[in-house]
Symmetry: C2
Subunit: 448 residues, 2 copies
């Protein structure tokens, strides 16, 4: 039932295109879901993709275009004329249309918009393009169904027939006043069972949860998730209904957000994907590696200070990397749990202090267990009691310190409105590496 | 418009509860959205929570219970009698009801189910409880709206009135045959504008995208995301309609999944949250720290092998942590991008090899830049050319190696059906630490 793209199917398609076998494409590819066709077009070369694209019906072609990967989409945009693009854009929802032409140069965008016959639509798209891409305004579509509160059910039904024609999914009817201000919502269910002469004002549920156009997409995602919403209306500052956001667009935001957090934690500083160019990926990663490099140089200076000691007792060097690495590991663990708590709001008001205390308890348990183990190892394997004590004490100290820093740094960043996810990455690792080395040699200085 | 829980409001509530001020609770708390009330109950102590809970209306109380944190929910479950729970469960959707009593001992579950007056509902809940929690069956609700294909629109409308009474959101009407097998879907919009005597069989859209009960929740999330679905029907092996999954439940799955991936990457081996006990958190973290510890011990053995060299040239020790740490950093970066590509399916069939090649190019650029920088630093700051060359060459080598391993290990894990996210965590860091040290001393051995 579910389509799965296989290598052999791709090969069949390529053979069919090469031999100009239109029938194969029409019978095997065109009946697929547009998301599946887009997946195929993303995989084949541009010529094959264009061949398939030409066999699609108009509506379907527009749906496929919306689903394409950024790279493939840009290739298509480059190969289509402005009037061709305009005729496709006319078949899209306004939010998809705005996303579709968003990255084109301004001149081309204007030319495409002027080629759209439906003037209302082109002005809707133009206004969507003016919002910040990462805001509720940039996420919303201007297709929605509304009813004036003074209409009767029968009048509304008549009106809906007109409005609903171009809307695939009707979730909710929005009740508005004469100034188009959003007053409430009306479920289709209620509507379905209302008498024909009932007024909308007697049916709608007031105080709907809505967002302003400038609210960030992340905030929209949090609100929709918290209140289990499938669709949310967007209003401007005067309370006028501007559009609606459906959950499928928010799901994409959430996915991107989770990926971004993961990238910060693993030391990639921009939003990159594996399909970006070598240069873009390098630019995203090098800064964090430079942080690591600088940290390493600091470390080398610290070690350099204890050069004499090292010359006398080279065994001290054996456990340097262990102590430094463990500090990094523990710091990342602690910070990750705190960052996650901050992100999903499970770290709340009263309980922050309690959570940090718990984090410290966990760290103490871990520090005790690990330094005991390394003590046992050194006790049996090495001949130096000084080494035994130095390594174990330093390990205990560095784990403890890393646990505290790992909890506090994200909280501090959060307090100063900096993304706390920064603290799960190379920053905290490097900091703990350096502190670990310092502690190690200071303790070593005492025992040797 | 949007509720935000503040400390001062919590304090007001606590004062009100202490002074038995029922009016304050009724006026300030009860009118809030159930998700907001749940947020409050999660924050206050059990007695205060129970006081507030008693002021809620029956329907609202059930909705609040569903939204509670696991801890708070368990406290409530412990304080309520089985018949009290049963009367609340009767007001929930079957999927929420099953989730709500899921963790109770079997005996108590049975007793609660036998206390539910609606026999059909209690048997629905019982059957939902039998599915794996992480499968489509465990995620679905048995409340849906269906119409036999032989019914007319008028008959269906009559029937719907009955069915829809207890369903808040109607997204789609499912068309079924006499054996309750799912044949297609019918949007409310189509239904709204159909003639009364049209048969459902002439209206429905065939071949709906559906999932089997045993499909994993992650797979359900991927399908719904790919096809932009708001609701998906669940069928058994005979094609009989068993239930439906709405996107709000899937959003939770996605959130949890992203968190789990993040935890693996940061070295936490079980699904833990910051509210779990010290013991559970420790158990989740210690294993990964032990991996790090073992790696550190391996490292110490490697360094020990070069003890003589270190004694003669202690400056070699200065850059040991730098080389080890950079290997770890690069390895985590490379593996994270590959793991992400695997998770969101952007790493596809044809292109895996190309992506790995690109990853290696990025690594080469980074390796060249960083080893050049450290060469400059050592050239001007140190007196030993041997050190200059050793550190730069070792750094180049370790970054290159880490980049290759970081790309290949997740691909290998994926091939053998092991979660590739494992490779972004302490495992890859530790491996690269050790390899880095080995490479460093081998190169040092050549130059000194």
């Amino acid at each position: 039932m579910k389509f799965e793209l296989t290598k052999s199917f791709l090969e069949q398609i390529e053979v069919a295109v090469e031999s100009n076998d239109i029938q194969f494409i029409r019978e095997e590819v065109c009946p697929l879901h547009y998301a599946d066709i887009a997946e195929i077009l993303d995989e084949v070369d541009l010529e094959t993709a264009q061949f398939i694209y030409k066999q699609l019906e108009n509506e379907q072609a527009a749906e496929v275009l919306v689903e394409l990967d950024e790279d493939t989409r840009n290739n298509f945009l480059a190969s289509l004329s402005n009037s061709q693009i305009a005729s496709q854009v006319e078949l899209m929802d306004t939010d998809d249309a705005a996303d579709f032409i968003q990255d084109l140069p301004d001149e081309r965008k204007e030319d495409i918009l002027s080629n759209i016959e439906d003037v209302e639509m082109s002005s809707d798209i133009a206004s969507l393009l003016s919002y910040d891409e990462d805001s509720a305004g940039g996420l919303m579509t201007t297709e929605y169904i509304c009813a004036n509160i003074n209409w009767t059910v029968a009048e509304t039904l008549e009106n809906l027939r007109e409005q609903a024609r171009e809307i695939d999914h009707v979730f909710t009817i929005y009740a508005i006043d004469d100034y188009e201000r959003l007053l409430g919502t009306l479920s289709l269910k209620t509507f379905l069972y209302a008498e024909n002469d009932t007024l909308i004002k007697d049916l709608y549920a007031p105080n709907p949860i809505s967002v302003r156009t400038f609210v960030s997409d992340k905030e929209v995602a949090n609100i929709m998730e918290k209140y289990d919403l499938v669709v949310i209306p967007v209003v401007n500052q005067a309370g006028v209904l501007m559009g609606r956001i459906t959950i499928d667009d928010v799901v994409d935001v959430m996915r991107e957000d989770a990926e971004r957090e993961m990238q910060l934690a693993t030391g990639v500083s921009e939003k990159v994907e594996s399909r970006d160019s070598v240069w873009i990926i390098t630019r995203a990663r090098l800064p964090w590696l430079l942080v690591g490099l600088l940290g390493g140089i600091c470390g080398s200076l610290i070690i350099g200070n204890f050069e004499g000691q090292l010359g006398l007792f080279p065994e001290l060097a054996f456990f340097m990397p262990l102590v430094a690495a463990m500090g990094g590991n523990v710091g990342v663990q602690s910070s990750a749990l705190i960052v996650q708590g901050l992100a999903n709001n499970s770290l709340k008001l009263n309980s922050t202090f309690a959570k940090v205390l718990k984090e410290i308890s966990v760290t103490l348990v871990n520090a005790t267990a690990l330094s005991f183990l390394i003590f046992l190892y050194n006790f049996f394997m090495s001949e130096s009691y000084a080494l035994c004590f130095t390594v174990s004490l330093a390990l205990f100290g560095v784990i403890f310190l890393a646990g505290i820093l790992g909890s506090l740094v994200p909280l501090l960043l959060h307090k100063y409105k900096i993304d706390p996810a920064l603290a799960t990455g190379p920053f905290i690792t490097t900091l703990n590496d350096i502190l670990g080395l310092l502690l190690y040699f200071l303790i070593g200085y005492i025992f040797y």
